[in-house]
């Protein structure tokens, strides 16, 4: 690759990063908006954490440029992380049950 095309690629990279930055801020604004709506706590946490997973994925894919690495890297790192998190959340439904069992 000659240096001119490398330059061009780097500038496209900056543009993508700014677009991603804008979307991260936009999603943050959506979260703040949702925060002032009267959702049940269990609905709220699913909505907010769902948006956070989208934001985290944007950061991993573009800022940490995992998208541009060899696919084998993401295939090695991500399933392990997702699996551990799923296993951790296995007992989570218990918190909803506790909520329902509380004397009101």
């Amino acid at each position: 690759m000659d240096s001119a095309s490398e330059h061009k690629h780097a500038d496209t990279g900056v543009k993508i990063v700014m677009v991603v930055w804008f979307w991260l801020l936009a999603l943050t604004a959506v979260e703040i908006f949702l925060g002032y709506k009267a959702f049940e706590v269990n609905v709220m946490i699913v909505l907010l954490m769902g948006l956070s997973v989208v934001k985290a994925s944007l950061i991993i894919a573009y800022f940490m440029h995992l998208r541009y690495e060899k696919p084998s890297m993401a295939a090695t790192l991500m399933p392990a992380l997702v699996m551990v998190i799923i296993l951790m959340f296995m007992i989570f439904p218990d918190s909803f049950r506790l909520l329902a069992m509380r004397p009101h």
Binding site: G13, S72, A80, M88
Partner: protein, 215 residues
């Protein structure tokens, strides 16, 4: 594919197919792979804390909601803006160092550090405010006593990560200025910085947005 070459260097020649790795299965330097593995384990640590916070948050109807629009939510939003912007300046530092513009890389690294320090300072004033209102580890004036422990542990571990990140970037900036680091080293420090930003993307909604004080 183009950036793939730029990142992997001659290593990307080793495995031509996506899966044929040869001696360098990820077509990346060992430092970068090492940082990714560290980030993976750190991500699991934070997942555990976030999962614990979510659990007690959902299970407690009397969870305190102390964050008024001002100062709480405004401060936390400004902190989010600062951290997201610092990720952009970090990307610029990595880019400059890849293009072999050392002075520019150092400038962007310093900008990232300033943002990180601003984050820590604003966060510290916020902690001071809450402590002033009577929040202790196992007691607070509003409700579920566990709020303090959950809040200070989760945000405290994150703040420690930001502070350590600033120190790390300072070392990288000094050594870059002296010309003793390669662009891979700067890139690896960037991975850590973006990860700290990523964790805040979970803490901000979970801790602040889930505890806004309704009018």
């Amino acid at each position: 594919m183009a950036s793939h070459e730029a990142i992997g260097g001659e290593l990307s020649q080793v495995g031509q197919s996506a899966w044929g790795g040869g001696v360098a299965p990820f077509a990346t330097g060992s430092k970068k792979l090492g940082m990714w593995l560290f980030i993976l384990s750190d991500a699991i640590t934070f997942s555990a804390l976030i999962m614990a916070y979510s659990y007690v948050r959902v299970a407690n109807p009397q969870w305190p909601t102390p964050f008024e629009f001002y100062p709480g939510i405004v401060k936390a939003t400004v902190m989010t803006l600062i951290l997201l912007t610092s990720s952009v300046t970090m990307v610029m530092a990595v880019r400059a160092s890849k293009l072999d513009r050392r002075a520019s890389a150092v400038k962007w690294l310093v900008a990232t550090m300033v943002a990180g320090l601003a984050f820590v300072v604003i966060h510290a004033t916020e902690w001071a405010g809450l402590i002033g209102e009577g929040v202790r580890l196992f007691k607070n004036p509003w409700g579920a006593p566990l709020f303090g422990a959950a809040f200070f542990t989760l945000t405290g571990l994150h703040m420690t990560h930001v502070f350590c990140g600033v120190c790390y970037l300072a070392v990288v900036a000094v050594l870059t200025a002296k010309g003793r680091l390669t662009s891979e080293d700067v890139e690896v420090s960037g991975l850590y910085w973006h990860f700290v930003d990523l964790v805040w993307m979970f803490i901000f909604p979970l801790v602040y947005i889930m505890s806004v004080k309704m009018g």
